[in-house]
Structures are given as structure tokens and as C-alpha cells.
Symmetry: C2
Subunit: 349 residues, 2 copies
């Protein structure tokens, strides 16, 4: 924590994203018994006598979180909803409602906003979620999208980041690193286009990674699978900042260590191809530090292994250790290296 | 509704605030049985088996909703929370949690954000509300605050805009027009200061109206009073756009008309004083069209009149009529004029 007491002006960049919000909210305490979980997980958890209500919120900002030159508005609307639903999924809950606040400059027309809302509509349809509030205001510059998602879950099924125990198996859904690979391609094409405005980008062979970046899907299918198999993960988070950072969040919250096997980390062939195009880039770096994959990273008891082992969409990538062992990755050469958080946002700064 | 089908570009200004959001959300339907109320009231209402969960959200934008030259950051934080709690109150519910998303440019320091959060903290303390999520991101320009408030209410006590019946009494809490009067003073002082930077504004005699604009209070005391007296209003809304516009919202949602008595509209002496300074301005215009008072406007059955008549903070200002009678105001000269919505935002455009 940076000492702000004896300074008259501390720049925002001096504090990282997590430190800043920690600094600003440190004096807030929870007063309502119905507030089961406040700040510090993928979503808040509220008890008002029935199922638990789970609430998550996120803001997407033009020029910071998305670049309008390569983000179709319909995809943007879809993605803005999807990443919030992903936070609800990470609590083992089912999303039910969203509210959407949008501020746009007059550079945008009603037709442009309709495209954005068409994407929001698509995501709502796809995931049976109701739009229940919010509004659209004018912004002096740019576009700002703030979405709050609300879900529900049986009280005994809520999963926090903090429940991982020593010997638990670490699982991850889908594949990692592909969203960041998609972003790399888009950034390269944008740079090429800037240098030569007549350039026609050829993106056909990058379909998969582009879709992973532009139109991520919350893994509600995994939540359903776990429920069908009667598995309640001991801890869970969605992979938004990269495997390294998010794994460390689970370990920190649970007071444990981990051992992740590099060769077990699921990486799609398309990610390997993109890394090949970019020369010395390692696919595993994209998986560890890329972020925005919105896969689910969770831990299960060893006794649940039999129920999960035949699911193609879930990969066991390591196990939980004692906190004293640290948060480690074992390479194929059997050397053990420490995971380092190098989140998405921090990299961009 | 503007026809956007046959145009390639419709400017946002061509559609009003309400029309735009109606246009954008017209295809969205409610799919979850737990979604009791979606878009179209002060807050959404959700049933997940216990008390009803009530959710409201709002965005405040620098240069649109507030002017940094005369808005202390601590007041801004307080107000941003207060106006969302006011929406929860308008459903006859008690706010319990909020989430806060903030985007700021690097013009703001950590100390400035701490001031803003100090105001948020104060409002949370005052109204026993827990901060449970959200984050702080960087914005290319300006400050954006998006807050979602979550409240709870017994299922049979939820009050919508749509429940007013013919003969019901129309009530309003506190006084109206003072917040807008405060804004007028601030705008005048800003203009004077621009013309003469050595000018020292003398705001002492305007304390009340300034506080009403800069630090509004959600009328949760009224919700408590109604509850203590076993009164469930038949309809309710908070006065954010001005009495005229908000009264018309109740009438439209309830399919009724109204007769409001001009001389019954509660106007503080301070508002009259400000109007005096501004020459030909009528205090009642500030009450009808000023907005941002965040008082509660509600209707009750005539049989509840006895329970409410001795409350100094609640004023009966008229009654509900048949829809065919229109939304009318009766002047002291006994002429009847039609209420016209001239909301806050529309005036500024």
C-alpha cells in the first residue's frame, strides 16, 4: 500500500487496479446481516430469505477496454453482457437479470446504439437473461458501458474464491490464451492498416481466436455440467486476467499454494499458430498472462475426479498445496517456477 | 416514436431520453418468472423465494450531470449514492447494498478519489447500506459514476407507479423546487466568477437550496413513517424530473388522470427568495419542472388520510381522476391548466 497520508497528490498510476480499490474501500464495513459477501470475489452474495442473490458489475470504456476500430458494436454489446454473466457463473450461480447503463457521445447515432443493443439482446436471448433497468445518457467523449448482472443460487451451492483446500484438484474449462491471441492479430492488422489504408486485412484463418476475443461466452454450460454431476467446486474464479493472476487470487483468498503443470494447460492449436506468426512468443505466456478468456478456473475435491474425468471441456491442470509451497508451475523439463501475476490491465499501462 | 427504419443516421438528440431507451429495448421480453418487474419503474423487482429484491441503477457524467467547478467531490459521492437509494425508496423498499463503478481521467489524483469515496462512505453509513462491489478504471476524459442499488421489501408491500386509482389522494414529501433553485445560484455564481476571477461568491444566505441541490437525501424516513402507520401507497415515484413530469409518469402507468392544486404544492421560502432574485421566475415553475428534489410523490387511498394528515413532512396536493380528465393543475384563480412535462434533461438540451 502506498502511503498517501503525507502527500498532497498521488497519481492514480502509482497504485495498481487492485491496490486502488482496496485503498478506497478500506474503511467500509458490512452492516447488513443479509450481505453474505461484499467486495473481494467475482460477485457479491445477498441473502433475503430465499435463494442467494448474486450481483456483479463491470464497466467497459472506449479507448481503455475496447478499441472501436476493430470492435463491431454488436459484438461489443454481446461481450459486455457475457463478461458479467461470467462473473455470476464463477459463483456457481445462474444469471437471471442485467441492468445496462450506457453513455455515448453524439458521434454515435441511434442506429449505432441499436447495433449495440442488438448484441445485448442476443446475449440475453442466448442465456435467458432479462434486461430490467438502466439508461442511455450522453457523454462528452467516447462510449462507456456499465453493466450489473444479477443471478441466483441455492444457499449451499455458492462457491467463493476462498474455499480451496490442500490436495484439491485444479481444473480449468475450454482453452486459455486464445482471446489474447485474437487481440494481438487485431492490433497487428490495425497497425498495418494505419501504415497502408488500402490494405485489406485477411482475417479468415484467425476466426477462432478473433471470436474468442470479440465474442467470449460465459461458461454456463460448465455450471450446468457441475450441477448435473452433483459437484460443488471448493473454489472458483473466471479467467479474466490470465491463469497466473487468477490462480493466485484463489490461492491468496484460500490461504493455500498450488502446483500447476505447464503441459496440462489447455492451449488451442490456433493460439500456437498465432504465436508462431509472432516469432518468439510462447503460447503458454498467452495462457498465463493474456486474460479475457472467461473460462472457469476451479478446484474440486479429489473424490470428485471420477465424475469429471471424461468431460472434454474440463482439464485438470494441477493441485492445491500448502501455502508455504508457494504458487508454482512445473515445466515439462520438471523445473518449478513461481507464477507471477501480470494481468491484462497492468500490461497495457 | 421516430421512424429510424428508412434513415441511415438518426441523431441521438432527435429522440428524447425516454423515447431512446424505449426504442432500444422494445424487442426485449421478460423470460424469467422471477423477474416481477423489468424496465419502466424506479427499480426492477425480483423474486427469488424470500423478500423481493429491488434493483436500481444510474450513471452520473461529468459535464452532463454535474459540473466540477461547483460540485465538491465529497458531495458528489454522497449524491450519487443518495439518488439511487431514492429510487429504491420509491418502490417502498429499504436499500441494503450498492455497487459502484467509477471511471476517471488522470486529471484526478488518488486523494481526489478518496474524497469522492468519503462521500460514498458517508451515505452508506447514514443509510446503513453496504458497498459490495464495483471498481475504479481509467477514463480518457472526465469522470463517470455508475451506481447500482439493491434493496428489499416484503412481497405485498412493493409499490409501483401503476397502482393509482380514481379518488386516491396525491401526496408529496418535503418541498419542491429548492434543488433547482440551488443549481440556479451555483450557475449564476460560476458565470460571475468567470467574468471576474477576483469575485468572492457570497453563498451563505443560500445554504438551504444549495444543500438541496448538492446533497439530496433519499426520503427513507417517509418509507419508515408509512410502514409504521401501516400505509401502503397505491403508487409512488421519486421526484427527479420535476413534479409535472413525475406526476404524469404515475398517471400514464396507472391509466388515470389527476388534479393537482397549485397552492398545495409545498415550496420553501428559500425557493421563493431565489426566484425573487431572478426576477420574473415563478417558484411553482421550479417545483413543476426543476427536478432533482428526490422527494417522494405517492398516492394513497382516501381511507388512509386520517393516518397521514398530521405528518408535517407529507402534503396532500390533489387527487386522482379518470384518465379522460387529463393531468391537470388548478391555479389559485381556479383556472385549470394541463401539466406539461419539461424534465430537467430536456431543458438542458
Amino acid at each position: 500500500m502506498i502511503d498517501t497520508e503525507n502527500k498532497s497528490r498521488t497519481e492514480l498510476e502509482e497504485l495498481g487496479e487492485f491496490t486502488l480499490i482496496e485503498h478506497l474501500t478500506k474503511d467500509f464495513e458490512i452492516k447488513n446481516p443479509g450481505t453474505i459477501k461484499g467486495v473481494g470475489d467475482d460477485a457479491a452474495v445477498i441473502d433475503n430469505g430465499g435463494k442467494r442473490t448474486v450481483v456483479s458489475t463491470d464497466m467497459l470504456i472506449e479507448g481503455i477496454d475496447f478499441d472501436m476500430t476493430y470492435t463491431p458494436l454488436r459484438h461489443l454489446g454481446y461481450k459486455a453482457v457475457a463478461i458479467n454473466l461470467s462473473d455470476i457463473a464463477a459463483m456457481n450461480a445462474t444469471p437471471k437479470q442485467i441492468t445496462v447503463n450506457i453513455a455515448v457521445s453524439n458521434r454515435y447515432s441511434v442506429e449505432a446504439l441499436s447495433e449495440l443493443y442488438a448484441g445485448i439482446y442476443l446475449a440475453c436471448q442466448r442465456y435467458d437473461v432479462d434486461l430490467v433497468g438502466g439508461d442511455t445518457s450522453s457523454s462528452p467523449v467516447g462510449m462507456y458501458i456499465s453493466i450489473t448482472a444479477i443471478g441466483e443460487v441455492d444457499p449451499h451451492k455458492v462457491v467463493y474464491r476462498s474455499g480451496a483446500n490442500v490436495h484439491d484438484l485444479i481444473c480449468v474449462s475450454g482453452d486459455l490464451g486464445s482471446a489474447y491471441s485474437g487481440l494481438l492479430i487485431l492490433q497487428r492488422e490495425k497497425a498495418t492498416f494505419k501504415a497502408n489504408p488500402n490494405y485489406q486485412p485477411d482475417l479468415a484463418s484467425f476466426d477462432y481466436v478473433l471470436e474468442r476475443y470479440l465474442k467470449p461466452e460465459p461458461r454456463l454450460d460448465i455450471i450446468k455440467f457441475l450441477n448435473d454431476k452433483d459437484i460443488i467446486p471448493t473454489s472458483m474464479i473466471d479467467v479474466s486476467d490470465g491463469l497466473a493472476s487468477d490462480m493466485m487470487q484463489i490461492c491468496k483468498a484460500s490461504g493455500v499454494g498450488c502446483e500447476v503443470y505447464e503441459e496440462k494447460i489447455p492451449i488451442d492449436y490456433a493460439t500456437t499458430m498465432v504465436c508462431g506468426e509472432f516469432g518468439k512468443m510462447l503460447p503458454v505466456s498467452n495462457a498465463l498472462n493474456g486474460g479475457e478468456d472467461y473460462e472457469l478456473l476451479f478446484t474440486i475435491k479429489q473424490s470428485d475426479y471420477e465424475k469429471i474425468k471424461d468431460c472434454n471441456e474440463v482439464h485438470v491442470i494441477g493441485y492445491i498445496t500448502d501455502q508455504s509451497m508457494g504458487t508454482m508451475m512445473v515445466t515439462p523439463q520438471n523445473t518449478t517456477i513461481e507464477l507471477r501475476a501480470q494481468g491484462w490491465k497492468e500490461k497495457e499501462n
